[in-house]
Symmetry: C2
Subunit: 274 residues, 2 copies
């Protein structure tokens, strides 16, 4: 495999959370990174139009805008509001010239998982045609089963594929994050199936540490954990994926460091451990 | 469904960790609990012979001795040692008159999960006939995927069934714990399959809290979390399970409380929320 050099990477702005969108654009571009995946949290302070201008001026590509979804609510009005919020994010993604909008299905204590999956399917069916007309794909990201209680009822690639089958719209695709999926039995086969189905839209890297202090905000840098990232990347490339590889790391520890140093470490780690 | 009264329960000694085996036996029996699942940690201080006498005198049944396995090591000598340790535990389980020995497959940073699964299969194949002759079944317990890095390479009921198929010995069965498996897509179907295969040997209850402070030692009491325990119990009973339901809760918070009060809360919660 080719080494994962900066020109083959995009970085999620949440990875360098302390930087504004303008700072992230400047420093990523200076480092030779090819793309940026803006999070809503970094777009909101300037608005989508200004964010689009900042990103365009940086020359960075925009594989994905992050993130919509969270469709699961016991209350129908709240479900409708979640759909409308995501509809607005599809428009922002179009403004940002993003290829896709990342979708987290949602989950909620008290809502049985099978019901939650049905709610997510209904919401995505309601949004897929709008997304398609906007030229934005919806990239469903399965989250690790430790988030099944309150974040996502879709916890495996297999389960994401099942949801795609239910919705059955070409605008609905899948984002594979090593953190969430590395443990899945038959992962390589699932990734190959995504490729055959033209649904393998994104590949996210970071690492899963055997010991972690926080279930959300203590993700590891590539090489710090247990994930066989090169093996998974090989499966992803064998499945036909040619997009930018996305670095997405939430870490209060790394956010507290000098972000220039942190960015340099990320680029080294991508080369050496991914 | 019948309410889950104490006469239908067994309690894992680790649930009331501060109590010695003798104290646990006395207080469980006084409360009308039908069975006890001794952990190695509670048997070791007195030895298996004395532990067997204490339990016999209490009149409690012993569904399971807990726990062997942890077969995954890069080093062959360490793998052999893990098998020998489990062989010793099978003998202790026989001494304790336990129906089964709970098995955790093991996992180890640096050992790919497919290799780990092969190591677990080899170890279980080496032990199954011994267990069978000892009259002790080996109850493989899939652990939640958040333990895939360093505790278990078997993280779903489906995956446990696959391992059973590989080993193909009637002494190898499966323990289903709601904490580990509640999120699994198609769980009811997987449980039904275990029933058809005569492999549904144990059913463990506690609860999975949406917010938890520790990945190991902050399990919830039934009713405190998100698991639809009665739905899963129904699936287990529909699959033909008639054994004692086992309460297994690790919680530094509850271990710090008065254990008599804690035991009373467990019995109430089993009646009301399981």
């Amino acid at each position: 495999m080719q080494p994962l050099t900066p020109d083959r990477l995009a970085i999620h702005t949440m990875t360098t959370k302390p930087w504004s969108l303008a700072e992230a654009c400047e420093h990523y571009a200076t480092a030779g990174v090819a793309g940026i995946c803006p999070w809503v949290e970094h777009v909101k302070p300037v608005g989508a139009d200004e964010a689009a201008r900042i990103i365009r001026d940086s020359g960075l590509r925009v594989p994905a805008y992050v993130r919509g979804g969270f469709f699961v609510h016991a209350d129908a009005a709240e479900r409708a509001a979640a759909i409308e919020r995501t509809r607005g994010l599809i428009e922002e993604a179009r403004t940002l010239n993003a290829e896709m909008l990342v979708i987290v299905a949602g989950a909620r204590p008290g809502v049985p998982l099978d019901d939650a999956r049905a709610m997510a399917a209904d919401a995505l069916a309601a949004l897929a045609e709008h997304a398609s007309r906007a030229g934005v794909r919806l990239a469903l990201e399965p989250l690790h089963p430790m988030y099944a209680a309150d974040r996502s009822c879709i916890n495996t690639v297999r389960s994401a594929r099942d949801l795609c089958d239910r919705v059955s719209h070409p605008a609905l695709v899948v984002a594979v994050d090593v953190y969430h999926t590395w443990w899945e039995p038959g992962l390589a086969e699932q990734i190959a199936a995504l490729g055959r189905e033209q649904r393998l839209a994104a590949f996210h890297i970071c690492d899963f540490k055997a010991e972690f202090s926080d279930v959300l905000l203590d993700r590891g840098l590539m090489g710090e954990g247990v994930v066989p990232i090169p093996d998974i990347r090989r499966a992803v490339e064998n499945a036909g994926f040619t997009g930018l590889v996305e670095v997405e790391i939430f870490s209060t520890r790394y956010w507290a460091e000098d972000q220039h140093h942190w960015l340099a470490r990320i680029l080294d780690a991508a080369r050496e451990h991914a």
